[in-house]
């Protein structure tokens, strides 16, 4: 998978909730194969004082149309401006970047735990991991129902569970409070997680305790995204590693959390 810098065409920008948008980008040539966990690095030109690119996970790929999509959550200046782009705009993107989740084995029971901007790779993994839907369990946490991203189109690929901090959707509390997590964790063969640091650390800790295979996709701040700046490092048992090339997906045994 050769990395490239390409000017892509924004073909769709759909607002999903108050601060989440789905952007669909089209290449003029066939896309390389891209996998859950991988990300792209997006240039945001329509703004003063945004200098670096911003990384976003791949949410989905449609090879037949040369398109892929991103789930963009407004966090700060860059993500905010990006969500104002309109169909027809050109956007420079570097892709595909980073490592991928280890796909499960046939008949594995897997739990995917996502939150915040970490929902995208979980949905993409659910869709493409190759398991029967009944073996795929996706747990999504949000602050409140208004922060929840509708996952209707991903429902065919797994079972969905929700938590919200205020109880407005699904169980009240954090993802770790959901019965599928708190009661059944040991029954999964593999756990995958992406989201806020605190969430991932809680998931990793519980997985480690139950000795379940667990991979987390980190979102460290990046300057380049392709392994030259050494800014995105995470401490691992093998020393500092680059989240953008050695990761973003790490087996939790590698991490020093």
């Amino acid at each position: 998978m050769k990395k490239t810098v390409q000017e892509l065409l924004l073909v769709e920008n759909t607002q999903l909730n108050h601060d989440n948008f789905k952007l669909v980008l089209q290449a003029s040539t066939p896309l390389p194969e891209m996998f859950p966990g991988q990300f792209v690095n997006v240039e945001i030109k329509k703004a003063t004082e945004i200098f670096l690119r911003r990384p976003f996970s791949i949410l989905d790929v449609d090879y037949s149309n040369n398109t892929f999509s991103l789930l963009v959550k407004i966090l700060g200046r860059g993500s905010k401006v990006l969500t104002t782009y309109q169909a027809g705009d050109k956007i420079s993107v570097i892709f595909p970047l980073g490592s991928r989740f280890t796909f499960p084995k046939e008949n594995d029971q897997v739990l995917l735990v996502g939150g915040g901007s970490g929902v995208a790779p979980m949905l993409f993994l659910a869709k493409t991991c190759g398991l029967k839907p009944e073996n795929v369990h996706v747990l999504i946490g949000a602050r409140s129902i208004r922060d929840h991203v509708d996952v209707e189109s991903y429902k065919p690929y797994g079972n969905y569970y929700f938590t919200t901090e205020d109880g407005s959707l699904g169980e009240k509390g954090f993802v770790t409070h959901h019965p599928v997590f708190s009661d059944q964790l040991g029954s999964f063969d593999k756990i995958y997680t992406c989201g806020p640091d605190l969430m991932m650390k809680a998931v990793a800790k519980a997985a480690a305790e139950k000795q379940v295979f667990c991979e987390a996709s980190l979102e460290n701040m990046m300057a380049c995204g392709f392994g030259v700046c050494l800014c995105c490092v995470e401490k691992t048992v093998d020393g500092n590693q680059c989240v953008c090339t050695d990761g973003p997906v790490f087996n939790i045994n590698k991490l020093t959390w």
Binding site: K3, V5, E43, A223, C229, L230, C231, V233, G239
Partner: protein
């Protein structure tokens, strides 16, 4: 056909565009994006005698038209370089230059000696200007006596082209340049990053684990350009200019101000094809302006 080649001492660069240390790994990392043989040279990630883990995360902060970094010379040490990197790059048709770092003069010398054994490393860039390490680094580069001492020591063990990389965090960079020229440096490259700081108003904490870091990118370009011009007017050895170069026009400005060659750093993070675009852009500029050789541009500022 215009002539893009430039010479530093007896070393020929096919064109004046190099990638800057710490921004292109060892070259291989950007080989997906560009043909490395199109570059005048690649200055590789800062290398030290022993492996270094660098500083803690966070090491980076975006700033207006720039960024701070506090990588702190993370690298696997010279042995790893010789065993695992050198074999891959030795036959690529460009100039792969090692950026040499030490905490003590002895370390600089020992590392230089190791690199000196490598046939296909045609030159070193002596980094006396890294602002992100506690020992050595910039401390050597901000006073004439200490800069002279390192250069003298390294010069005594190294006969190939010796480029000395200067710090901009000084009152008069031309004094430092003259000092290292006096000790036999074949070229000076400038600038390294400016010492800067970013604070998070919410947490009331510095953003970088090291409190301060090195500022690079277009923000520093006007200051870097001024320094290149000052140094060009102060020394006879060729000057390699850098600091915020994002495109061919920027690079040409540095050449006009006195640089014989340029390095492209932070721009690579934005678009790793920029160095090659700059090579093409300079060629185009020369053709349009009917200039035979890029070396005619160097120091051509009309004042």
């Amino acid at each position: 056909m215009v002539d893009l080649s430039v010479r530093i001492k007896d070393l020929l660069f096919k064109n004046p565009v190099l990638t800057a240390s710490g921004t292109c790994g060892f070259g291989e990392e950007i080989a997906d994006f560009i043909d490395l043989t199109r570059l005048g040279g690649v200055v590789m990630k800062g290398t030290t005698l022993n492996p270094r883990q660098g500083n803690d995360y966070p090491r980076m902060a975006e700033t207006p038209s720039g960024m701070l970094n506090a990588v702190g010379l993370q690298n696997k040490g010279v042995d790893n370089f010789i065993q695992n990197i050198y074999p891959n790059i030795r036959d690529i048709d460009s100039n792969f230059i090692v950026n040499v770092n030490g905490s003590t003069i002895e370390e600089y010398v020992e590392l230089t000696e190791r690199i000196n054994e490598l046939d296909k490393i045609p030159a070193i860039e002596l980094n006396i200007s890294c602002p992100n390490v506690k020992e050595g680094g910039m401390a050597f580069g901000v006073s004439c006596p200490s800069a002279e001492a390192v250069v003298r020591a390294v010069r005594s063990v190294y006969d190939k082209p010796l480029i000395v990389k200067l710090s901009p965090n000084v009152t008069d960079i031309s004094e430092i340049a003259k000092a290292v020229e006096g000790q036999g440096a074949d070229s000076v490259s400038l600038v390294n990053t400016f010492l800067g700081m970013v604070v998070d108003a919410n947490s009331r904490m510095p953003v970088l684990s090291t409190i301060t870091g090195g500022l690079s990118g277009p923000a520093i370009k006007p200051i870097a350009l001024r320094m290149v011009w000052q140094v060009y007017n102060a020394v006879k050895i060729p000057v390699i200019g850098m600091g915020g170069i994002m495109n061919a026009t920027d690079a040409i400005e540095f050449l006009i101000a006195g640089a014989s060659a340029v390095q492209v750093g932070t721009a690579i993070f934005i678009d790793p094809t920029i160095p090659v675009q700059i090579v093409d852009g300079i060629q185009n500029y020369l053709e349009i302006n009917n200039i035979q050789s890029v070396s005619e541009l160097t120091g051509s500022l009309q004042i």
